[in-house]
Subunit: 431 residues, 2 copies
Amino acid sequence: MFRKISDEIMLRGTCYDNLRVLCKTVGNRISGSPQAAKAVTWGQHTMRATGADNVYLQPADVPYWYRGKEQLQLKIGKKYKQVPALSLGNSQGTNGKTLKAPIIMVHNFDEFKALPESAVKGKIVFFDYRFRQDIIFTFEAYGDAVKYRANGASVAVEKGAVGVIIRSMSTGKDDFPHTGGMHYKDSSKKIPEMAIGNATADLLEKECAHSIVMAKMRSECHMMPDAVHSYNVIGEIKGTETPERIITIGGHLDSWDVGEGATDDGAGCVQSMEVIRAFKALGLRPKCTIRAVLFMNEENGDKGGEAYADSAKSKHEDHVLAIETDAGGFSPRGIGLEMNEDRKRQITGYKDLFLPYGVYDFSREEGGTDIDPIHKMLKVPAAGLMPDCQRYFDVHHTDNDVFENVNHRELKLGAVVLAQLIYVVSEHGLY
Amino acid sequence: MFRKISDEIMLRGTCYDNLRVLCKTVGNRISGSPQAAKAVTWGQHTMRATGADNVYLQPADVPYWYRGKEQLQLKIGKKYKQVPALSLGNSQGTNGKTLKAPIIMVHNFDEFKALPESAVKGKIVFFDYRFRQDIIFTFEAYGDAVKYRANGASVAVEKGAVGVIIRSMSTGKDDFPHTGGMHYKDSSKKIPEMAIGNATADLLEKECAHSIVMAKMRSECHMMPDAVHSYNVIGEIKGTETPERIITIGGHLDSWDVGEGATDDGAGCVQSMEVIRAFKALGLRPKCTIRAVLFMNEENGDKGGEAYADSAKSKHEDHVLAIETDAGGFSPRGIGLEMNEDRKRQITGYKDLFLPYGVYDFSREEGGTDIDPIHKMLKVPAAGLMPDCQRYFDVHHTDNDVFENVNHRELKLGAVVLAQLIYVVSEHGLY
């Protein structure tokens, strides 16, 4: 059956073509935006085409962060020069006014702590922390670096900084800036924060080492005052023996407002739908109900994930397993498991079945942001597809996260593994 | 030490930059061509920059197949339309004249065998055999399909065909034709053979199903009458304890005359040199001699590999292990082993050391074409780096095999694993 599932998806899978449509006709789709609404319509339509028994929308009110125009200029030599930069998600910009200030560079929070307030006051702090290319599992390196993006502004403002620039959380040998979520402490003044790409950061690092670099920052970004009605898109195959028992597989439909949201996480959306399509095409009638969910608002609020958990709770749903695919459409290598040891052992016991499909690593505790609420709130066992991670942070949250950077075989192979996992769990349960 | 090797290469590796130079200043480099000579000079220069104890050239006379101009036109509807096509390597073209003939399509050799001679005589045979996308290990699918490229012309001519068109050995969802080696039986008349990309093959398949499609083929390709003097490029670190015992690591410097030969096999060349650079940068003094070899003429003759084995034999060299990296600069997954069971067991015993670097599969018998002569002639144990194989046959032997399709982290990680393997074998020997 593993082989049948694989053949069906590798030979007749539609996920790659679906991803092309999402990327090229909808494009990027930040929560609350008109594009996100368009993506919901696309999701509904595409989910129906899989042959799902029923397709419906699940309401979730989401925040809407709006970027608008933005510009960062650095005075390198005698002239100001515009450099590629992106305001960070959820940040408050300069209200369209120019913020002109000298830059002070630090390499990490410890260096920042050692600075007197007088050295920071009135300045733009440049957190020049490098993404650790020596860490082979890049998600670990991301976890190490992301605090500068998430907390940089809140930390810097405490000593009177007027703005923040960060080196992107990027493995890229290029100059793409990477956006991504940040947040302010409730008590903090909201100062603007922008990310620059590695090449610009290298240049700025060099300049800051021997002189005071001036910057002009201008941006319009802000959080919209009101939440926007939005939706998770859900498609189901009803279980034949225990329809009340549910296996959820999902990715997230929203993306940041750059690129095409292909790897993050168009890939996960089309893979989740591919599972439904493959089961239907093969005439597989699973014992449990299989539910594919395109979650809304993973990037800056997780309102879709919360709405899903809330609904499951209020309906007293019985979830056997929740699976997320949000680590890119790359060749699968492992399945992360967040569950008790007995269940881990059971799934790890299927290892030899997965090996011909390149999956050998069951050792990590990785689920996903969208399924975290249901995992935490209802103690549902969680799993996450773990593809090869070397390329993920080259494209993550950038204008370079486009359809062309997803490979059709790798994308399909991920869907194969997801469908296989769901098949064994549906057949044998999870105890 | 595994960690130190990894850090050195992931943080300070030069292989990616070296590959850029090879691809962008030399480009593709078929054996015998002026570009291949330029590549030898680049290889010598780049090998010296690694800090190798000595760098030298090893002579190998190679064939020189010259493409020249070529064109394939298909009459689809009322007009002839030029389609992307590549003559196959080593083939004899139409001497610049137009060969006009109807096409007869078969899907495989069995269908061809069933045809009467009258159905084939005077026609161009279209071998429409599909690369099997259902086979997960793509090199196996390549092995399955490549006989149509290698033998198509010899088979077709026996029933009086005047030319051959093949569907490319390609996983690509595109229209890049893939070139590659073919050969004629000594007794055969040499008819021209061209490859078309998957999209054109799909179109031609549809047309041939209901009508007779005419083709015009014109090409100038031919094998040059004389062999050309060329070279393997070799760099060494002398062993401290047993310098007479040699571990060889190599890729091939020649490529087909399309694209930039980035994946096939610029990647292997720069990885092999990276091993030397990393050992030198870390001040590692290996017990055995380590020899990096950029082999010439892997693609259509293996004269470099033969010259290497001949030299080793005549000098009575003692080779502990020969390793090849010619499967692309993708994330490593395994190490293929061609050696006796005891030695396999020994290397497989290091599995847990390799696991953090993504290497888990030691089960395949895979060495490499360049090291095959020394493996067969002198019984030297052989190993091959096995990276993820999903993308390899998208770019293999096409104009799309360019630097941009190699990822810097994946390329480096392959070099890490090679250096680690060489380190353990140099330290502990191979019994």
